[in-house]
Subunit: 152 residues, 2 copies
DNA sequence: CTAACTGCAAAAGCTTTGCTTTTCA
DNA sequence: TGAAAAGCAAAGCTTTTGCAGTTAG
């Protein structure tokens, strides 16, 4: 049952991990690529992808799935929630101390064996709430404010 | 401020919406394309994408973001949570009656104005839990069971 | 009528993969 | 020294877009 493959700590892998641990942002693979190129000018994007995959599989980083379709990575491996600003798309960590226990309610309703949960809050960051309220509403209106009767 | 563009209820749009309302699965754009082609053999995938976008913007369907990188769509527009089976990847709705209130705790901690939240449970569906326990563990082991010392 | 929409095909992300060379242990 | 990983480039998916023709209202 044990998998005897073993991994090497290459320079690329070490620096990707180190840089990810430095920040509390949640960079995409491409952003990680930019972050490490100052130390490894010849690293390839493929190597970044492969290492992010390996590092998340061995639990050194977290692959996070939040709104939007690109994957993001988090150097903080402790379970924690995220808040996303719906105006500027910034993602921040909710302190690990905030943790909800949903007990067996879902297990009993869905008859699933629940192992984990993912919780994301969506709202306005302080800056966007304060400074951009008007602009943002106009923007949302432009995107969403179409009207139609579906006839259904 | 109001956007005076208006939308038309075309046959394509109506049938995409109708088919999405019929099912309680959470199809991807490509799966919707397959679903509607029996009624509209000449519809294009681009049209499906465009309509899914419009329908979700006017609130007739929901664009859902769960684990995995492809977008899925839900004909159920009432707010509800999802459970995902980590073995077979099936996604099911948690009944709308199950709804948690996180109060102002996040607002006060993060100083965000929280507008909504997304909650997803990950676990084993009854079938996978019962029938595939061994096979699945072997599979997870093969994928994750690599060991390394990071030296950090 | 005419603006919105469709079908088609090409392009545009993001991510993975094949292959040869390099490197860690 | 040999298996793992890197670099490079090509391919693969999903999604978006430009355009000419079609259609709802």
């Amino acid at each position: 049952m044990a998998n005897d493959a073993f991994l090497r700590m290459t320079n690329q892998r070490r620096i990707i991990l180190r840089e990810l641990r430095k920040v509390n942002t949640h960079p995409s693979a491409d952003e990680v690529y930019d972050m490490v190129r100052q130390y490894l000018p010849r690293i390839s994007l493929g190597t970044v992808y492969r290492n992010l995959e390996v590092l998340s599989q061995i639990g050194e980083i977290q692959k996070i799935e939040v709104g939007g379709s690109i994957k993001r990575f988090d150097g903080n491996t402790k379970p924690h929630y995220h808040v996303r600003c719906m105006a500027c798309d910034r993602i921040e960590d909710v302190p690990e101390s905030i943790r909800f226990d949903f007990g067996d309610q879902i297990d009993q309703t869905m008859h699933y064996k629940i192992m984990e949960h993912r919780l994301e809050f969506i709202g306005l960051c302080p800056e966007c709430a304060a400074r951009q309220a008007d602009r943002m509403m106009a923007n949302i209106d432009r995107q969403i404010g179409k009207r139609v009767s579906t006839g259904i």
